[in-house]
Symmetry: C3
Subunit: 205 residues, 3 copies
């Protein structure tokens, strides 16, 4: 008697890991841009490159899911995960873009902490992706992302309240509000990624 | 001959009614916050609690639809209705949140009327939900919600035109625009709920 | 032996063409509004009428897809195309609406070029729709729309940078930002239409 090995497209795990690693790069570039002189468009250029590479990875995942007969988990969950990771990058790219376009060099004090939350979420996500293969030790991932999202939400509200407490002129608020909202959306998008991972894990268990 | 009773999960109706009742609470709290002294965070706290309870109800609906073999109407319509009701609450919560965070105490005159539209829509929705059981007398519900949405849209445009007619400083406009747009989104979300109800009723008829 | 003719609903092509023609009307009205005296609400009225007619066409497409057994291409692609075209109209309507509500008469210089991009995209889309019948010569369409979207994106970034470079007061920025973002969203929505067309063509080839 021969055993048939179920052909599973293992490279999905690699592609998701690659996708999450682009987010680590993006979050780190966003952290650097806070210290940079905005006349120096170099980091903006590297961000655009990171966003472009993340797009490529997303397209490869979608292409593979469309051309593969057996997928390691539900097709819709693969789409949801790929597009969730892509959303994070889009919001980080928006944030850097607004900083450069609006020429912002001064940020509210709490904003660096908010970007640190984003960096931590990216790191944890990149570390969790390879664990999709065994579906082990993923619970701590989504719990920690949810905790980070709560921390980010508190930071965000503190920053918003500060923007409107009279410390800033309307023009500065207009610029900064867009930027801090993009970062908040990126953190929220990580929570959505974590929820997708939880859903996949529940189905597989 | 024995009759087989089709086992229908009747509690979906109760859960949708519960969900809509949270919206009545939310809309009433929003109406109260217009008169309140914003240093008093008590109503904001009660809003957060209402939003939390609404989330719980939504989760119970989703959980039940996932674990139930026969549902009273299409699964996707149950999802759409649950998430539509949830969207209303999110936008109402956003509105209260912005009022408190930005420290707004003065509102354009027409804004109280807009919140009254929201309260009326919430009330009608809470009254309509139990009628899903018999699918009777629902048409008047979606017609009236559509009428309220049109009224809300006219109010919204009048308020926006007023915000930009020179009566307010840019900083005040920045604060108020977010708040009035959240309320407008909440009213729109009720229209989306009414459309879902109409779709369900058409399928069942 | 008799041949059975597969009954294909050819009128989908006519309806999509009609839908795209409403967008040509809408984009032209938006171009006219840039020159108009905003106390003259006539163009706003005609825009509302165009948006209303576009809605009707969308509803007819949705109704037909729901009542037709065999559709010329996948149901979900028909939905995606219909709602993509509808999104363009909504964003154009938003733009005209904000211009009239906020009473804006002066626009950044590059804005007329941006509206011209929108008009060109509408024209190309209206010309491409009848070609869905034969699925021929569609590639040039989506390539050109993607090129226009890139051009629109560059314009948009230039306009935004100009809005924030100190040339405008906060109040003017608040008004103009909404308007230019609606136009940018309309151009993005054309890209999404082009992507849907590409997807349909790839499946059919």
């Amino acid at each position: 008697m021969r055993f048939r090995i179920r052909p599973v497209e293992t490279t999905f795990y690699d592609l998701f890991t690659e996708s999450a690693q682009h987010l680590v790069t993006g979050a780190d570039l966003l952290a650097q841009v806070l210290d940079m002189d905005v006349t120096n468009g170099d980091i903006a250029e590297r961000m655009r490159e990171a966003e472009h590479q993340a797009d490529e990875t997303t397209h490869r995942i979608i292409k593979r899911v469309n051309s593969t007969f057996i997928t390691p988990f539900d097709r819709e969950d693969i789409y949801a995960l790929a597009s969730g990771l892509d959303d994070v990058m889009d919001h980080m790219d928006e944030a850097v873009d607004s900083i450069v376009l609006y020429g912002v060099t001064d940020f509210p004090e709490a904003f660096a902490g908010q970007v640190a939350v984003l960096q931590r979420a990216a790191q944890l996500t990149a570390e969790a992706m390879p664990r999709l293969r065994t579906m082990k030790d993923l619970e701590e991932f989504w719990i920690e992302i949810n905790r980070l999202e709560n921390e980010g939400d508190r930071n965000h509200r503190r920053i918003l309240a500060h923007l409107f407490d009279g410390s800033y002129k309307a023009m500065a608020v207009l610029k900064l509000k867009d930027i801090v909202e993009s970062v908040e959306s990126a953190i929220d998008a990580f929570e959505s990624v974590a929820n997708t991972i939880e859903q996949i894990a529940v189905k597989e268990s």
